[in-house]
Symmetry: C2
Subunit: 411 residues, 2 copies
Amino acid sequence: MSFDRMWAELAPVGRAADGGYHRYTWAGADTDARAWFTGEAAARGLDVRTDRNGNLWAWWGGPGPGAVATGSHLDSVPDGGAFDGPLGVVSALAAVDELRARGVRPARPLVLAVFVEEEGGRFGVPCLGSRLTAGEISPERARGLADADGVTWAEAMAAAGHDPDLIGPDPDTLASLDVFVELHVEQGRALEDTVHPVGVASAIWPHGRWRMDFTGRADHAGTTRLADRNDPMLPFAHAVLAARAQAEEHGARATVARSVIVPNGTNAIPSLVSAWLDARADSEDTLTAVVEGVRARAEAAAREHGVGVAMTAESRTPLVSFAHGLRDRLAAVVGTRAPDPRVPVLPTGAGHDAGVLAAHVPTAMLYVRNPTGVSHSPKEWARPDDCHAGVLALADVLQDLLARPVGEVAP
Amino acid sequence: MSFDRMWAELAPVGRAADGGYHRYTWAGADTDARAWFTGEAAARGLDVRTDRNGNLWAWWGGPGPGAVATGSHLDSVPDGGAFDGPLGVVSALAAVDELRARGVRPARPLVLAVFVEEEGGRFGVPCLGSRLTAGEISPERARGLADADGVTWAEAMAAAGHDPDLIGPDPDTLASLDVFVELHVEQGRALEDTVHPVGVASAIWPHGRWRMDFTGRADHAGTTRLADRNDPMLPFAHAVLAARAQAEEHGARATVARSVIVPNGTNAIPSLVSAWLDARADSEDTLTAVVEGVRARAEAAAREHGVGVAMTAESRTPLVSFAHGLRDRLAAVVGTRAPDPRVPVLPTGAGHDAGVLAAHVPTAMLYVRNPTGVSHSPKEWARPDDCHAGVLALADVLQDLLARPVGEVAP
């Protein structure tokens, strides 16, 4: 299968000695990976275009209306894994090969998409390429986003040879898409408990990020009596534990994985601890209950220790429920080749370009089994056989959709 | 009183716009402060010498045996206060003025000391100047200590015009000292609850620093089921709270004020959380009980979450009990001028050069009242009247000691 050759070729691009990936938009390895995709697409006779926002579109027939679209992204989080993003891109190319081997001659266009800055690994806003295209972030804000070195999106994009003055909503491209299917490595291990190498997405949970600032008083840790302290580490620690407890109570996910301590000295009671809560749940109400539960515990502990606390939402993304008709069709098609026709239909807590597009185009996702569930890590993995099953499932789904009338797969 | 003029002159040296001090050994503001001290001492006809380790000694009579010594340090912690260190140095100079105004003519030498790198603010090891002189750290290790930019002690010292090959134990200087008294701003607020502007030190609590490494597994915070996580933030949070609980239970101090989270991303369950425990108690056994209590809680929580934990002592300093005879003599002398003759005799949790010298020379400390107890912070403060009372108490003590036979004030 052409998948294996392509996977082996792409694997070293942006991979550090420890196995972690570093592919950041508009620079070195990400540029190399995009060039690799462009070369593969061109070799297949696909018409590759870069849209105004930097996303790549490789057309088999077209560009034109009524297109069946598939794809994912090539950028990574810092020290990320090989599969998150690239699996969907390489599988899309391999699915084209599979369709051609089957003699499929599409009656309407098939287009392969590579979205830019999906991880927000360089400029901080995830799904930036699809958000720009969908008009969900203003061009002005996007141009001003800066990386850790202070280089803006506009500067980096211009240095890469693209005109940042042209970025923004792209309704024509969106209007040309009849349906979008993203294949992605699973980022949990729900499929591992089943016989299924491939599953179908039901929804992306509502999720968001909240910043908590605990304001205490700088003091000497060796000399300040306990009663005289206003130590912000203590309510911070309570908030970390409260996130876990709330997640358990509500069947949700809530994590504190990032903090900044000022001044972060061994014998210096901090003046400030900032921390970020990442929370996700299967409904808006549950998400709100989780966040408010953490807030209540943080505020109570802060009061107890004479510490100030401010909690603000940095982002909140509502529930994305993928088009039901399309979802059920995918499950049926995938089920014809699966060891059991009852293909798992799973929600996820992770955001994707598919989640952004879902508001504009009938959209679905396929997941490939991840035996450890590990993602965003050098240890992220999927079995080769499961990747091959993913390519066949994607080819089956694309073949089925290409053969159906435009506009039939409504939500 | 000359104290006020000197205090006003020294105050701007190394002070940032927000009031915090930045005086780091062998560089800018610390060098300026040392030059200021040398000028003040020279203006009084004192013979200023820099010893092999970079400590300054300003002799009134001598250098020679049987000296009564006083002094402190001029360097600061990052973003430190004005008083920790400089109060003892400026008060020593003002005490010389006071003794001269009284017509005191010492029968033996009086020497004013300024110790280098007391805070460890640049090279990480506190009391480095006094430790080198006392032979409590090897010259090889000291030369190799590096600051945050990788500049070593040897390189920085050489750049400042001193020969790093000469550093090491200085038994001759130690042997010339008959007694050492350090005046210091109080770093708690025990005196604030009394009528006393000045107190006497009884002991420096045994104290130390322990590093805790919690090793988990990197995972996606949005997609990894709670049951599949090995999140090191959770036992870390338990350890933070356990430090406080152990300190309360044992009447001690225990603080987690510093941590490093890897990778410290909002949606990335960490692979590693490192944290530092600072603990102090009135006895070795109590200190051990506190540390073992934190260890037990950290290990239990780590087991519960499938996280590894390693706890290692980075430093442990035993109890320093100041010479009892000298301590009682100081209390009696200070009591003659105090509003109540029963002068408080207080332990402290903080390390000092006096604590290092105490193993080699009869040593004592005076504390000047700190109304908030805040230290190692721009808000560190003492009332001017209390500072003046400190100068008079130090002058009284020095006058008393200078008039007594050499060798009389044994522990």
